[in-house]
Point group: C3
Chain length 433, copies 3
């Protein structure tokens, strides 16, 4: 049997479209960061060696996280500038084992797929170790990604980017789940492309095009789930994926569940968590360690990570709430909270347009359709929202921002901005006179 | 025994004073529209024939509704213009059975009274089938209606409209529950009045005055409840009447009541309704089919009809909520909601004046004292209220209106109007600097 | 054994710094006013005679209250103008028993201390009835009060006011818990000081200084709790003191506790109080007679006195709520409510600064640091707050004030002021066109 390919996980891409969410690799959807969770799964499938391409900002965290993975051999390299996926792979090259014809399996940390994809692609490679493989996501409706051009014999002859719905060469969308049967051959092709010094940054795709002429690339079709962290609301999709993996009831022995509290469906309750009288946790739901679900609060279809306070009559629905958030008598709906957010009494994340249309959000100045009927707010780390704040659907609030009491937030608020409203009051002395 | 009179139900009057509530006859106070509910009751009392006077707008609905009444014979006629009660009766004339001396029993669909009144008037008629009868509502304090002038022998000699408290001829107020022992005689008298072509529209009253000279009219006194649908808040009075008829606990077998939910007092729970954990329904209360009472919600002294969502921590108190309303973390107090209202999180219908005085409302431009210490909002069909909207006591909101988030509604909002408030925000960059 | 000293309770000081809280002596922390509660405790310790110094405003109430104390002999005198503590004692002089060498024990009604202090000082006096005694509150960190200067032999040689942290003569702060072994001697010394007619109002302190030269004054050290009612938020400290005295569960037999309600910890539930389904009372907590805790409400670490309505989903946390307050779907946090406050749906007392610093409040025009991380609002009697009002931390609202719906209260509101906000609305007709 052929050697299992070396895993290359691309974890160095810029996350600016994810603002105000920081660092995708560090996001936790349960007890472990996304990167660690992915690595453990690859390990369970038989991968023994991995190279992770980090960036200067996240390399320390990535190194710390991956130090704990055993017995897999994990090396971390740094891509110092965001010069594209081809460059990222070239940074990984020196960290690869010095074996002839080393096969690599290239993945992105922020693509979350079913285990089945990895299993299928691994099986295909082992049956034909001279061949390279590309996962093809079967999808009927058009998607603005790369489409595989596949010959009748099943060989991939090219990848065309965003061909338009009318010109789809197939119904197979390129997922970055690629096995290259000979890493050196790929690296050589990449170096050629970088030497050509073209302005476009699609060196990896061009190198693939060249290689496909002489070497067999075959498609491994995939019909499962594919969730990619491209925009911040995708955190909710990934969350739902992880929530769907909670089966049954897991209540930590050190947790406290009041007799009049209610747990419904598939629920995970972490260490020392407390669910107070009259509160309900409706699955699928994940409650992290040391988190308190206060009296009469409701958490449903949500993740609330560690050390959070979900105060009296707080509702969290279909939302992702990271560590150390503090909420009180408020409504967190279809929203993503980074660590340390303070959401005060009377606050609401409005989540529905009056016309019931898709909610949009601005990403780097461009209006982007989230594709969601319901979307609340995306809030950065340690933002403080005073009492009675209302955020409009799809609004984003930067890290460390402060929103004054009673403010309606209609537009994104930058990191460390303070926004407030002043009322003009009328004062009448001595009511009786 | 004399033949039971033919019932004439006046259901064609204009409802403009009821705005934004549409069509009184269609209002449901339980599983059936008011008109159907009234018809069934008359049938149970022995009435076998009825003529309903509809208007061009409601005739289709009225016909459809009454098609299901069996074995009573129901005919529907249309009054094409609102030319008064006399004209309405003349429209009914051709639909009456072709019998000599047909007696008729005239009622209005929007007068809701105890069964006792009908029983007493029927008994009086059967004891003396040559006599006509008028119900006299016994009432000590003055009421701006028509007062019966009654001779010592008990014969009615006239009806005086709004005589003033000092000039009341009796303590008997005219309710439209009139038995005329000979319909043709009445119709003839009405035709005479219409032929005179006076500007006032009290033809029916004038015809009665004329008839009283030659034919005996006697009073049937009544001391029970009388609720008339004249202004929209009267929906709450009629609701209370129907709520008082719920005796004990009726929970449909297909309903779901969570173990930690609480039902108190006389409560009706319809088919497939759900009452979630921590919620309470405090009687008298009616919960319609397919309606969901969410976690920790509270419904008391209210009707919530079918297919409603009463979301988490929503309170509905002393209110009427029609089909398909959606409410969430809000407070519906002493209010009337037409079908399809969306009442978002944080909304409140303020129901109490600071001075604790009676709440007023504007009806066709005139300020009208509702006579109620507590009155919330009257909201038309499919109105959408965004989060944190507050309505002042007695405010009315038109059908299809849209109210933006955080708006305080101090005045009536017309059908299909959009009302919103914009805040002027102060934005400070980089808090630390 | 020496005769027990005559108790003198100073209850006539001006309360202007306590605005909008009226009359400290009348404040109830349980079933009885503070003054009565203190008197009962002294009586239990063996005191048989007391003179209370009232002022013209409270003398009637004080007389009425103390009429019920038996078998203690209580006399009430009036200090007609606020001319200092020395003057107050001189008013008490004629009411003292006509015995030679009458000892007196001087206390202030608004100093709440542990029983131990009184026990210790009484024991010291009885062991040495010729000596006078001053309680010395042992305290390491500096406090801006009077410090005792004590000789090595334990004799007090003087009291220095606010010496500054660097110049503390001891770690013993003067509490007004003073035994004078001969009242006449003190009165004579006071008369001398008033005759000197100096501008400063520290006659009592000067008289003590003079007396200490010739007569022994000794310290009785005290390490227990000391809560003084100086500023209105101190009501919360005294409340906590009284709450800490509730041991275990006391539920009146006439109270109603719903099966799904929850009582936690040390809780007192008064006569005819009702705790409705889903509500929770979390101790230490005191619920007064005839008070209703509505569905799903939460009261914790609070006192709610008599005849209050704590409506559906109302939260009261760490707050003092006097008689007849009405609250509904609101949040009362770290606040003090005088009798008869109406706190409407959606109201919140914001209690936390964005910078998490100490909350300040203005007292007679001066900004005063409350020393508290969390402080809500202080609200005077019969104030009416409309729906969705938000008070900023440390704000005070005068008696009879009215706050319009949706108002953010950033500054103190005077007695009987009306404050409201008007929104400028945009109205668009006929949404579809």
């Amino acid at each position: 049997m052929a050697q299992t390919p070396v895993l290359i996980i691309l974890a160095g891409g810029a996350s600016s479209r994810m603002w105000p969410i920081r660092e995708k690799s560090l996001l936790r959807f349960g007890t472990e960061p996304l990167l660690v969770s992915q690595l453990r799964r690859y390990q369970a499938l038989g991968f023994q060696e991995a190279v992770i391409v980090a960036n200067p900002e996240n390399v320390d965290d990535v190194s710390a996280m991956t130090a704990q993975i055993r017995p897999m051999t994990v090396r971390v390299v740094v891509q110092s500038e965001p010069k594209g996926m081809g460059d990222a792979l070239l940074q990984a090259a020196p960290a690869l084992p010095n074996r002839p014809k080393t096969a690599i399996y290239v993945n992105q940390v922020h693509d979350v797929v079913d285990e089945q994809l990895h299993t299928d692609i691994l099986k295909a490679y082992q049956a034909s170790p001279e061949t390279s493989f590309v996962a093809g996501y079967e999808r009927e409706e058009y998607f603005p990604g790369g489409y595989l051009i596949v010959s009748p014999s099943g060989r991939i002859t090219g990848i065309v980017e965003k061909p338009g719905a009318a010109n789809k060469p197939s119904n197979l969308v390129n997922i970055v789940a690629h096995v290259h049967s000979d890493a050196n051959r790929l690296m050589d092709a990449l170096r050629v492309e970088y030497a050509r010094d073209l302005s476009s940054d699609d060196h990896y795709e061009r190198a693939m095009d060249v290689l496909m002429k002489d070497h067999p690339f075959r498609v491994v079709p995939y019909r499962g789930q594919w969730n990619a962290l491209k925009f911040p609301w995708h955190v909710l999709d990934i969350m739902n994926y992880y929530l769907s993996m909670i089966q049954g009831r897991h209540v930590s022995e050190t947790a406290f569940i009041a007799p009049t509290a209610t747990l419904v469906g598939d629920v995970y309750i972490g260490e020392r968590a407390k669910v107070f009288p009259g509160a309900a946790v409706v699955g699928p739901a994940y409650i992290g360690a040391d988190t308190i679900i206060g009296n009469n609060a409701l958490v449903r279809n949500s993740m609330v990570l560690n050390h959070c306070e979900v105060g009296y009559t707080t509702e969290i629905a279909r939302s992702y709430v990271a560590d150390r958030c503090s909420m009180h008598a408020c409504r967190v709906l279809d929203s993503v909270f980074s660590p340390g957010v303070n959401f005060s009494a009377g606050c609401t994340t409005a989540n529905l347009r009056i016309d019931h249309g898709h909610v949009s959000s601005y990403i780097k100045g461009q209006k982007v359709d989230s594709g969601r009927d319901k979307l609340g707010a995306i809030i950065g780390a340690d933002a403080f929202l005073g009492v009675d704040v209302m955020t409009m659907p799809g609004v984003k609030i930067g890290a460390g921002a402060q929103i004054g009491p009673g403010t309606h937030v209609h537009k994104d608020v930058l990191n460390r901005q303070r926004v407030y409203v002043r009322q003009e009051l009328t004062i009448v002395d001595d009511i009786e006179s």
